[in-house]
Each structure stands twice: as C-alpha cells, then as structure tokens.
C-alpha cells in the first residue's frame, strides 16, 4: 500500500460527545424517562439448580401499585436448537430460557418472573411475594464436578457436538485443530514443559448496570431504549425470543457505560416488552449491581493443559493444548476462540489444540474482550516463559525465534498477511523498560498475545449540510471514542476539519443494518463504510461543481475540501465546500453519500507486554510497579483512544491475574456479588501504563487500520504471572494470584 499522507487521521481531536459526557448531560440506559413509565423488577432463583414445580404470582399481583406480572408462561416456547458452527453460534431457545427460566433454574439469580409497578420499591416487594415451589437439585459448580462420573446433568436431552458420548453429559462440544505429527514432534524435542493451569470465572465489570426502557404501541410495535453494544442484535434477538417480526421492534441505543462484550446479548428487553404490553404503560428495568454479577454474562472459568516441546536452540517443535471452559448454565463458552488463538503466536510444525465446552450451574457466559483468548494464552505464554528459563534464552529472544510472520499458517487454518508480532517483540527488547534494573523482591515478565479482529456488516451515511459541514450516521454505539474516529475518517475524505463533521449513532430505523460494537471491528469495518460513504459524497460534490462550471465531472478534482478544475477546466476558480454547499439544492438536491460493507476478518492484532511486579514476601501482596504495552494497531486513527484501549485492556488483565474471581459457597450461591469483594483494580493499584503503538498497515483496509480493542487483555495474565515467577521463584498455575495463594506458594517453595 502506498504511504498516504493524512491530514486528520493520526491527530488527537477532542471527541464530539465529550462535552455531554463531562457535564453529565449524556443519557445512559438508566437515564431514559417516559411519561407514565412503570418500574420493573425481576424475581430470581434462590437455588443454583432446581426444577420449578410451580410459580404462584397471585400475592404479587394483589399488591397495590403492581400493574403487570410475567413468567415463562407468558413467553413463547422457543425450541432449543443450535444455530451456528461448532466454534460459535446461538441457541435462541436457550437464550429465551436464560432470560426467563422455563422448567429449571440453572444458576443462583436465574430469572423466574418479573413485575412492573408504579415504583421500584413496590416492584421489588412484589417479587418477594412470588412463591416458587422447587425440587432442589445438586448444583454442579466446577469443571471437575461437571465431568465426574454420575454428575448431575444440566441438560439431559441435549446431544453433544464433536464427541461420541455414552449417555447424557455436561460436555456440549469439542473442537480440535491438528497439524504435523505430535508424537514425533515431542520425541524430537530436547526439552518438554508440561503444566496445567486454571483460571476463575471473571466479570467484565462495566460500571453501568444493564438498563432498558420499552414502550408498546397498540399497533403491535415496540420501542426499546437500552444500553447495548448492538441495537440490531437487540431488535433481532428480542423478536425471535418473543416470536414476532423484527420490524415490530425499534431499538434506540442510549449512551453505553461500558460493555467489553457483556452487552452483546439480551437479558431485560423481552421482559420489559411483555410487561409493557401487559400493563399498557412504558416500563423501565435497571439491574442492580448484585443482579449484574449474578445474572449477566461473565466469562468462563477454565482449565488448560499445555505441553510445549523445543529444541536446544529454542525452536518450538511441538505444542499440545487442551482447553476446558465453563459455559455457565447453557452451552456456548468461547472454547472455540480459545482454541483458535492459543497457539497462534508461534509456528509449531506439530501441534494439537482441543477445546471443550462444559455446562455448570453458573451464569451463562457472554463475550468478554477477546473471549477465551486470555485463558489459553495464559497457559501457553507461561510455558514459553518456563521454556526460556530451561533453555537459558532471553524470553523475548525465544519468542522472536518462533514468532509468526507474514506467510505463516495459523493453527486454525489460514495464512497470515502482514502482521506485527515481531515488530512488537523488537520494540519490547529495545524499550528502556526492558533494560531497567530491578530491586529486591521485584520481578519482570513478558508475554505476547493475539486476537483475530472481526470484520462483519456495517453501513454508513455521510450527508453534506448547507453550511458545508457534514453528518456521519452509523449504527454502532460509541463505547470508547468511536464517534470521533469515524468523523476523522470522513473529515479526511471530505477535506474538512473534524469539528465540522458531526458523528451520529443511529437507531434501527435510521441506519442500515450494522453488526454490533464488538470484535474490535468498529474503526476497521464501520470505518471502511464511512470512508466509502464519504468518497461517494465527494464524487457527488465533484459532479455538482462540474454542473456549476458546465464541465465534465472528470475535469473536477477534490482536494482539501475544495473543488478544483483540471484538464480542460483548469481555469475555474477553486470552489470550497462552504461555497458549493448552499448551491446543492440548485444542482440536484442534497448530497448524501452511502456505503455498506461486509469485510473479512483480516487484520490480526498482536501485542507484547512487559510487567514489573513487587511482592511483599511476608504477606504475599503484590503491586504492579511498571507496565508497558506494545501493540500493532495498524494505522492508529486517533492515537489517544488507541492508547486508551491498550491501557484499559492491560489493567483489566492485571485485575484478572491478581485479584478478580467469582466466589461460590457449597450451594452455588455467589459470595461476592459487589465491587467490595469482587476486587477490580482501583486507581492506586496500578502504575501509569506505557504504550507503544506499532503501525503495520492492514492491507485490507484503505487506511491500513486494524482492530485494537481486544488484543490488550490477552497478554497480561501471563505477563503478570511471569513477573511473579521472576520475583518469587514460583510458577503460578492458578489465578488469581491473590496474596494468600502467593504466600502459600512462596512457603511451599521454601524461599
């Protein structure tokens, strides 16, 4: 790709939605108010695993102020059927049963019934008055318990995929990738490292709880305002769950207070829709923080067995990775993505990677930033670190000797185009951080990480205003600064300042279909649509200038927001957009550019992280004291928001490594459903997060953009563990590395 000189892309303008967000004016999910609105609340299971014998809502209905009560009996019975492939898909029957339990409750907090009332207090009180008869079943709270012979089976009627099973099982799916000859590879290895790793179920931890408001009109149409990463998927999924046509559902995304994948599915919307229809009034439902922890979609706890074989010179000759992930109450963990990413940073002539999906009595998992990849990567990168120690090779050097590059084949099949893993490793090796001496009880760790980055469908509209400014309308909720990045790309094509391009997030009736804000795809794929829509607008502007000048459109070129005559029209005075715009009516009407794309996922993102940690050997408490993230972002459109993704993902990964975990009691009740004991990093827990953006252009994007948001959470688990290994002499195979665990391990190690 030729090196294009950018005027706006690569600068750091202030985001357009910024003032509303720093003044408190921006409307998030729970800020929506409609006249006559009722408040909804959801009654939830007190058991982790039980058959529902009966539900009696009469006492709730009798409470003054209660306007509607719904249970699964109000929902259509959608058949359970897997739609998708072995590595990803949806079962709308199960989605429906997750939104409202039908025959069984499958986790503590599973929704049983819902109430709409004139106040949240009354709605909650009514929920308490709903009487449920259960046949309590033994909860299955771990992979071991799920896989044990004679284990209670969550879904006895379900056929597993990809495995032969004698009788019902909690394993729902297996997929595998193999290449070469594994036995021969290990036989050829000089050194073999083999270890088993476990990671706990963790939550995305977005600060804004799920919230939605629904209005039902008597013509059968529903309007939904909600905090979501994908308004079109809310529209589609809600319609399927309620067995109505999607065109009856309009979804307007509010501002979204974080998602990280957790707001890619639905929980509240069909419930509020039914309550609104039944009561005849708008209904708002806002989850409490406790409900978010109990009944939204965290990511899997997992177990990974990793075996790595290498020659003395450091060449990897064999890798064998077996991944078991908890899906929660219904099938569909990210075992597939964990398997596809696990061995993708290095070349393995002989490999096998297997992923298993296992159901347990925990909340059904949802996407969480590079779903699955941090779990398998933790195992692989920990073993690579051990291998470097065993071989006495610098860990960055060892990685460089094996790192994938353009032309290498990924274990899941395809061949990489231009990628930046080696560049990030070289930058890491030369970074001052890597060379700084460490003090007492301190250690340094390095790890790499990979995520595919999605493509998928996007549409965009660029309309030119009569004052020569422009509006960009897309369908992606802005979760971290995407509005400004999209406006910058439109500004680049139109040749007008970023401030004169207003980015708008449309609803499902004002933009063409657009896949969700997720998969690190917005700046890449929606950006591509915006560029093409802006180019379409520019083409029209050239035609309009040609009309005014009475020349051919090919004799008009567009530079820096100004129409210039060329060829036979070179004598025309240049016409800036500001002059041209008021004349659009006279030359054929408004100019609206449009584009739609469905690009392939073709911009893999690689990163290398360096972590320094200090450990208190008497208490086991650790503190990350320095952290550097180096990532190939392709062309960085707005570097501040690229850095922000790198920093935020790194800190989420640090939390996962050190303190975050769901805790359960023996009955399957979550013991820490709040921010007090679900310990996410606070400001004083972390240092500044240094960033180095490597820009290896993505050949499939007009500006070379590749996705950024997910890769940053992939390396930290191992980077922190490898630093901990250096500081304490202990290889940690279990996360989180919380102080009691660290102290015990130091003791065991006899240091």
């Amino acid at each position: 790709m030729s090196e294009r000189k950018f005027k706006y892309v690569g600068t750091r303008p202030i985001r357009h939605d910024g003032v509303e967000k720093v003044t408190g004016r921006a409307n998030y999910g729970a800020d929506v108010v409609l006249p006559g609105m009722l408040q909804g609340a959801i009654a939830r299971s007190e058991h982790a695993h039980a058959r529902i014998l009966s539900i009696d809502t009469s006492k709730a209905e009798a409470l003054e102020g209660v306007k509607a009560v719904v249970t699964a009996a109000d929902f259509p019975d959608i058949p359970c059927e897997w739609k998708g492939g072995a590595a990803g898909g949806t079962d709308f029957g199960e989605l429906s049963r997750n939104i409202m339990a039908r025959d069984k409750v499958l986790y503590h907090g599973h929704a049983l019934a819902a109430v709409a009332a004139v106040s949240p207090e009354i709605a909650r009180e009514a929920c308490k008055r709903i009487e449920v008869n259960y046949e309590v079943l033994e909860p299955v709270m771990s992979l071991d318990a799920a896989l044990a012979p004679g284990a209670p089976i969550l879904h006895p009627d379900q056929e597993p995929m990809g495995i032969e099973s004698e009788g019902p099982t909690n394993v729902t799916n297996r997929l595998a990738f193999e290449g070469g000859d594994l036995d021969a590879g290990f036989a050829d290895a000089d050194v073999v490292i083999e270890r088993e790793f476990t990671t706990p179920m963790v939550h995305q931890g977005y600060i804004e709880p799920h919230a939605c408001t629904v209005r039902f009109n008597e013509d059968g149409k529903y309007s939904i305002w909600c905090s979501t990463q994908g308004p079109f998927s809310v529209q589609m999924s809600s319609a399927i769950v309620l067995a109505i046509e999607p065109n009856l559902v309009k979804c307007t995304p509010t501002e979204i207070g974080g998602g990280f994948g957790g707001k890619t599915t639905i929980y509240l919307e069909p419930v509020a829709m039914l309550l609104a229809r039944k009561s005849g009034r708008p209904v708002r439902i806002v989850m409490s923080r406790e409900e978010v922890f109990r009944a939204s979609g965290p990511t899997s706890g997992g177990r990974v067995r990793m075996k790595l074989g290498a020659k003395r010179d450091g060449r990897f000759v064999a890798g064998d990775c077996e991944i078991w992930l908890e899906a929660g109450a219904f099938r569909g963990s990210p075992a597939g993505a964990a398997a596809m990413t696990g061995l993708s940073s290095y070349t393995f002539p002989n490999f096998r990677i297997q992923g298993y999906d296992v159901v347990v009595n925990k909340p059904k998992v949802a996407a969480y930033r590079a779903p699955g990849a941090p779990i398998s990567n933790f195992a692989v990168e920990s073993c690579v670190d051990e291998m470097a120690r065993e071989l006495r090779i610098d860990p960055i050097e060892l990685r460089l000797r094996n790192a994938v590059q353009e032309g290498d084949r990924a274990p899941y099949g395809p061949t990489f185009k231009a990628i930046g893993l080696r560049d990030t490793l070289e930058q890491a090796r030369n970074h001052p951080h890597y060379k700084t001496p460490l003090g007492e009880s301190q250690g340094r760790g390095v790890a790499c990480g990979f995520w595919f980055n999605a493509g998928m469908q996007s549409s965009a509209i660029v309309s030119v205003n009569t004052d020569g400014s422009a509006v960009v309308r897309t369908g992606n909720p802005d979760i971290g600064g995407s509005r400004v990045s999209l406006a910058m790309m439109a500004a680049e094509e139109l040749g007008i300042p970023v401030e004169r391009v207003r980015p708008v997030v449309g609803d499902t009736e004002s933009v063409g279909y657009t896949d969700l804000t997720g998969g690190s795809r917005v700046t890449f794929a929606t950006g591509m649509a915006v560029i093409e829509a802006a180019q379409d607008a520019v083409q029209q502007l050239r035609e309009r200038a040609a009309k005014i000048w009475g020349v051919d459109a090919k004799d008009v070129k567009w530079e820096d927001g100004i129409a210039h005559g060329c060829n036979g029209a070179a004598d025309q005075d240049p016409m800036p957009l500001k002059v041209l715009a008021p004349k659009l009516g006279a030359t054929g009407g408004p100019v609206v550019g449009r584009a739609q794309v469905n690009p392939a996922a073709a911009g893999p993102g690689f990163a290398t992280h360096i972590c320094d940690i200090e450990v208190d050997p008497e208490t086991g408490r650790s503190q990350v004291i320095r952290y550097t993230t180096i990532q190939d972002a392709g062309k960085a459109v707005h570097p501040s928001y690229v850095e922000g993704q790198m920093q935020g993902g790194a800190v989420q990964g640090i939390g996962w490594a050190l303190n975050e975990e769901y805790l359960w009691d023996d009955d399957g009740v979550i013991e820490n459903p709040g921010f007090l004991d679900y310990r996410m990093p606070v400001a004083s827990d972390v240092p500044m997060i240094d960033t180095v953006i490597v820009e290896v252009p993505n050949p499939t994007h007009p500006y070379g953009v590749r996705g950024v948001g997910e890769t940053p959470i992939v390396p930290p688990l191992a980077a922190v563990a490898n630093a901990m290994r250096a500081a304490t002499g202990v290889r940690f195979e279990q996360l989180p590395m919380s102080p009691p665990r660290v102290l015990e391990a130091i003791d065991r190690n006899g240091r």
Binding site: E121, T619, Q623, L658, G674, D685, P739
Partner: protein
C-alpha cells in the same frame, strides 16, 4: 416495610425517647454501613434517627485531658485535624483507611463501633490508645472502654433507647505513640483481612514501659492481645521481643475462613502486622522522647 420514617432530633434526650419507643428504629450517623445493609437485603427500619442535628455530635475538642469527639464526626474531619494527627497518628491513619474518600465524608467512629464488625479499622486503633465511649440512654449516661463495647459480630452492649454520643481519648503520656496497619489484597477499598493497632510508652532510657496490641478481623470481636503487649514491655524492641510479640499475636488470633482470607493466612499476617506496627509505634515514641 416499604417506607421508613426519618427523624432528626435536636437533643440527645429526644433521640433517646425516639429509640426507646421503637425497637426497630435505627440511629443514622454516616450511614455507610446501615444504608449498605439496607441495599443488600436487610429489613428497612421503621425510622432513621439522624443524630447529626444534635449539637456536639459533629464537633470535637482537644484539650489538656485529651480528645472529646462527638459520635457523628466524619472520618475526613478526624484525619484532617493536624493536632489529632500529631497526638494519635495511628488512630488518624486507621480512620483514613476506612473506605474511599467519599465514604470518609460520611463514615464515623460511632458507626464503625456500633456496626460491631470484627474487621472495623478505627476500633483497634481506638482501643490501642485507651479510648472510652460515651453512651446515653433512658437511664442517663454511662462511659465504658471501647474494648468492652462489642460482644460479638453485630452485637453490642447497647440496650433499647441507648445510643453512642461520643468518645474520650486521654492525652497521650510522654514518650508514647501509636500505630495501626491493616492488610487488604488491593491498595484501597477492601475490608481488613487483618488489622493490628499498637501503642507503646517508653521510659527515659527508651525501654517500653507499657504497651497495647489490638487485633481486628481475626476473632469474633476486635480484641486486646496482652501476651503480645507483654512481649514488648521491658524491651527496646529487639528482634527477640518483636518475634515474641508476633508469635503471641498469631497465637491469639482465632479467625475464620471466609471470602476475604483463610485461618492460616490471617494468623500469619496478624503476626507480621503486629511486628510492623510495633516498630512504627516505637520509632514514633522515640521521636517524642
């Protein structure tokens, strides 16, 4: 109960009358425990009795006989008081460890004590400096040592109609000082896994003449560890004295396994914190010599 009452009495007598008449009314000081319990499922009280409008509840005074502090002075006013910080640095630090800055704008010693959590940060520090708590009730006022106030997790000596009105802390003796340390997994925002408050008084030669060691989060209530204090008394804080104090603290700890820590871990760290807090208190006392 869908709706609670709210009362803001202007005098202690009024508050006593309200509380005596209604066993399900609750005193509201900072509310940082009471309202959290309410949000996480505890039954709502019939009424909140907000004591912050009672003169004296939100003020403090430091004189020759020490500190008199109203029950509802928020944490931030306590640790921002420079005189208090210089006289009882450990107590100020403990108060500064309670929750976030926002919580410190509300939380009070009174609430920290009346919540009767074994993991209260201010309580061991109060006990270490010999604080007394003043209680008013239908039968008048009584004063008792802070260590005698809690009788178990969530349990106190308060009878119906009684409320805490303030604290008195005697002026520190010459060459004495306190320190408080707590252990949490993160750097902020957690509940103590273990906490240790220590105060020492030195004689003119720098030998420890009196000491107090108080632990939290390792027993049903915050408690005084005499064996650890005795290990310090008579020493100049040599290694053996520190080891003995730490060992005594670990031995006295009788914690439970829960989501915040294990028995074994809490015992270990009780010793570690006792040792570290003793060193800090000793150095401070020496500086005052």
């Amino acid at each position: 109960m869908l709706s609670s009452g709210y009362e803001a009495p202007q005098t202690v007598e009024e508050a006593v009358t309200l509380l005596a008449a209604d066993a399900d009314a609750r005193v509201l000081a900072g509310g940082t425990d009471l309202l959290v319990q309410l949000r996480t499922g505890a039954p709502a009280p019939t009424a909140f009795v907000d004591i912050k409008r009672i003169p004296g509840m939100t003020s403090m005074e430091i004189g020759t006989d020490g500190l008199h502090c109203g029950a509802a002075v928020p944490a931030v006013e306590i640790y921002e008081n420079q005189t208090l910080c210089s006289l009882w640095p450990g107590l100020a630090e403990a108060t500064d460890l309670i929750g976030s800055t926002q919580i410190q704008g509300r939380a009070t010693w009174c609430g920290n004590l009346c919540n009767a959590s074994p993991a209260a940060d201010a309580v061991p520090a109060l006990i270490a400096v010999g604080a007394q708590v003043v209680v008013a009730g239908p039968n008048g006022e009584r004063t008792l040592a802070v260590e005698d106030f809690c009788t178990g997790p969530g349990q106190t000596v308060l009878g119906q109609g009684e409320l805490v009105t303030g604290f008195h802390i005697p002026a520190p003796a010459p060459r004495s000082a306190d320190a408080y340390l707590r252990f949490i997994p993160r750097s902020e925002m957690d509940i103590a896994v273990v906490g240790a408050g220590v105060s020492v008084t030195l004689d003119a030669s720098g030998t420890i003449s009196t000491a107090r060691v108080v632990l939290c989060a390792v027993a049903p209530t915050v408690f005084v560890v005499d064996d650890a204090a005795n290990a310090l008394i008579g020493s100049s804080l040599d290694a053996a004295a520190l080891d003995n104090a730490a060992t005594a603290a670990s031995a006295a700890a009788n914690p439970i396994d829960d989501k915040r820590g294990t028995v074994e871990y809490r015992r270990r760290v009780a010793g570690v914190l006792t040792r570290r807090a003793a060193k800090i208190a000793y150095e401070r006392a020496k500086d005052r010599g």
